[in-house]
C-alpha cells in the first residue's frame, strides 16, 4: 500500500524531439515504456510507487505536438497543448466556447499551465482503492473494493459499471464529444482517426485501460470540425470544491436551434461512468422538439435511465438529471 510520498523510483528517461522518435522509442520498449505528457497524473503514480516504469518517454520536447492549427474548415489541437493555451486561444474561444469553458474548469491555474489536453483526456481512473495500490480489477486483481456494501463509493459510477465502478475524471472529454472531435492516434501500423466517444473504453471491454491507446500508440492531436462552430453551448461541472476539484458530474452540450426548436444536439456527461458517456437517447429524443420545460424534463429522465447507484452515490442520479435539464434549457452556471 502506498502511503509515503517519497522520491520517485529510478527510470530511464528519454526526451525525443519528434513524433517519429517517440514512436520508435515506444516500439523499442513496448509495455515497459510510460509516455509522459504534462506529468500531473504520471508523477502521482510514480511518487506513490504504484506504477514503476523502467522507461519514461517525455514528450515535452516534441514541438509538433504543441499548438493550435487551422485544419480544413476546423481546428487541430496538438496533444501537448496546455489547457491554459486552449483556454486562451482566440479562435477556440470564438467558435468553440464550450472547450475553453471545460478546460478552465479543470484543476487550478498552475496545473492548467502544465497539464495538456492530451493528458487530460487520457488520464487514469479516479478511485481511492485503485489509486491506493489495492489489487482491484483495474489493477489486474479480481475484486472491486469500491463496489462493496462498506466501500467508499461516493465519487463512483452510476452508469455502465462492469466489475469496476471507477469514473473518468476528464473535464475536456465531454466537451470534445459534444464538438464531435476526432482524435488522431499514431500507431505502429500508421495513423488512426477515431471519434471522440470511441477513444474511451469502458471496463466491460478492457478493465485495465481507459482509452484505446495500446503500448506503442500515441495520441498526437485532436481535430475539431466546423460542424458545431458557433453553436449554443453548455458546460457545467459540479464538484465538492469550486476552486480545484475533480467533477462529481459534468455535462457538455452543443445545440443548434431554429425558432425555438432543437435542430441538432450533441450531449455528453462525465464523472458518471468509467468513460465519458454520450447521451444518444436524449439527443434522439429532443431533436425536433421545442426547447421548453417539458422537453428538458423528458431529457433529464431519459439521461438517468439504467442508472445503478451504489451505497453512497445515489445523489449523482438527480444531479445528472438536473444538469441535463439545465443543458436543454441552456442555463449555464
Amino acid at each position: 500500500m502506498a502511503v509515503i510520498h517519497d522520491v520517485i523510483p529510478a527510470f530511464e528517461l528519454f526526451q525525443p524531439t519528434s513524433v517519429d522518435d517517440a514512436l520508435a522509442l515506444q516500439a523499442r520498449h513496448g509495455a515497459k515504456a510510460w509516455v509522459l505528457a504534462g506529468g500531473l497524473d504520471s508523477f502521482d503514480w510514480f511518487k506513490d510507487r504504484i506504477k514503476r516504469p523502467e522507461v519514461v518517454i517525455d514528450l515535452s520536447q516534441v514541438k509538433e505536438l504543441r499548438g493550435v492549427r487551422q485544419a480544413g474548415d476546423g481546428l487541430e489541437i496538438g496533444a501537448m497543448t496546455t489547457l491554459t493555451e486552449v483556454v486562451r486561444h482566440p479562435m477556440i474561444r470564438e467558435k468553440y466556447g464550450i472547450l475553453p469553458n471545460a478546460a478552465e474548469a479543470a484543476a487550478s491555474p498552475q496545473i492548467r499551465n502544465q497539464g495538456t489536453i492530451g493528458g487530460n483526456v487520457s488520464q487514469d481512473a479516479r478511485c481511492w482503492y485503485y489509486r491506493g495500490g489495492w489489487p482491484c480489477y483495474r489493477a489486474g486483481g479480481n475484486i472491486c473494493y469500491a463496489d462493496t456494501p462498506a466501500g467508499l463509493n461516493r465519487e463512483h459510477a452510476i452508469l455502465d459499471a462492469n466489475r469496476c465502478v471507477a469514473v473518468n475524471p476528464s473535464d475536456t472529454a465531454p466537451a470534445l464529444i459534444a464538438l464531435d472531435a476526432k482524435f488522431v492516434v499514431r500507431t505502429p501500423k500508421g495513423e488512426r482517426v477515431v471519434d471522440a466517444e470511441n477513444y474511451f473504453i469502458g471496463p466491460g471491454t478492457d478493465i485495465t485501460r481507459m482509452t484505446i491507446l495500446q503500448p506503442g500508440d500515441l495520441l498526437t492531436s485532436i481535430r475539431i470540425p466546423s460542424t458545431w462552430a458557433g453553436a449554443q453551448f453548455f458546460f457545467e461541472k459540479v464538484r465538492d470544491r469550486a476552486v480545484w476539484d475533480f467533477a462529481l458530474v459534468n455535462v457538455a452540450a452543443a445545440m443548434v436551434m431554429s425558432g425555438g426548436t432543437i435542430q441538432r444536439i450533441r450531449l455528453a456527461a462525465n464523472g458518471v461512468a468509467a468513460h465519458p458517456v454520450r447521451l444518444t437517447a436524449v439527443e434522439a429524443a429532443v431533436v425536433g422538439k421545442q426547447c421548453n420545460e417539458e422537453t428538458a424534463e423528458m431529457a433529464g429522465k431519459l439521461a438517468i435511465q439504467g442508472a445503478q447507484p451504489l451505497q453512497y452515490n445515489g445523489y449523482k442520479v438527480p444531479l445528472l438529471r438536473n444538469l441535463v435539464k439545465r443543458a436543454i434549457r441552456g442555463e449555464a452556471a
Binding site: N142, D147, R163, I201
Partner: protein, 288 residues
Amino acid sequence: MNLIQWAQSPWGQQVPIHISWTLLWVSAIGGLLFLIVHALYVSIWAKPAHSAGSSGVSGAAAARIPERVPRHNLSARLFHAIMALAMLALLFTAFLPKVGVQFPWVTYHWIAGIVLSISVLYHIFDAFLGQDFWSIWPDREDIEDAGRRMKRALGQAAPEPRKFAKYPLENKLYHLVVMLAGLSVILTGLFMMKRVRTPIFSRNPYLFSDMTWGWMYVLHGLAGIGFVALVTVHIYFAIRPEKFFLTKSMMFGWMSREQYLEHHDPQRWPVGEEIPPTARPESKKAPA
C-alpha cells in the same frame, strides 16, 4: 515464469489472484503439438487396430443386428450440441480478450456459463435415468486391453485386445477429464457470478475470504485453459477420417451395422436381439 499471479490484500496477506495468462499459450500450443504428433504417428508408424471385416460375429448373428445401430438418442445429441456451443462461447468470450480482441465479454460469458450449467445438470439426470450410466466409465476390461495394446505397440507378446464396448477407452478417459474440468469451471464460475452484477444473484464479494476467492479464480483459470487443449484435441479427433463415423453418430444418432461390427464388441455393447455366445468365434473371446 510465475504460474500463478499473487497480490497483497488490504490486510497485508499474499493472496493468489489468477493464473498467469501465458499458460493459455502453453495449453493452446500443447493441444496443437499433441494433434501434430498424433497425426504423424497415425500416418507413419501406426497400424490399423482392426482389419476390415473382422467382425467376430457369424453372418446369422450379424443379420440380427439392425442396419442402423442406435448410439446416441436425441436427448444426448441435443445435450452435446448445446454443451458444445456453450463451451465454445465460453472459450471465445474468455480468451479472445486475452489475445487482443476487445469486446464487452463478461455478460456473454456468464450467460454461456449458465447455459452450460443447466445443460450439464440435465445431462447428469439424463445419464442416471435415461442413459446406460456405466457405459462411459472405464472398467477393468478397458484397463486390461489398454495394457495389451501398450505391450503390443512396444513389440512385446500380449493377447489380442478386445474390441471396444460402446465407448473406446480414449472416449471414456476424455469424458472423465472433461467432467472434472467442467465441474471445476461450473462450480467456481457460479460462485464468481456473486462478484459481478447479474439479474440472477445479488452481489456479495465478501462471500469468501480473499484467499479462497483467489484459489477459486486460479482453479477456474486452470480448468478454462485446460479446455483450450481439450476442445482442440476433441475437434481434431472429430474430423479425423477414421473417427468420423463416431462424429456422424453424434450428429445423426446411429452408426452402420458394419461400423458397429468393425469397431465394437457386441458382447460388451449388445444391440438388437441378443447374440448367443455360440455365434462368436472362440478366438475372439477374452482369455481367462
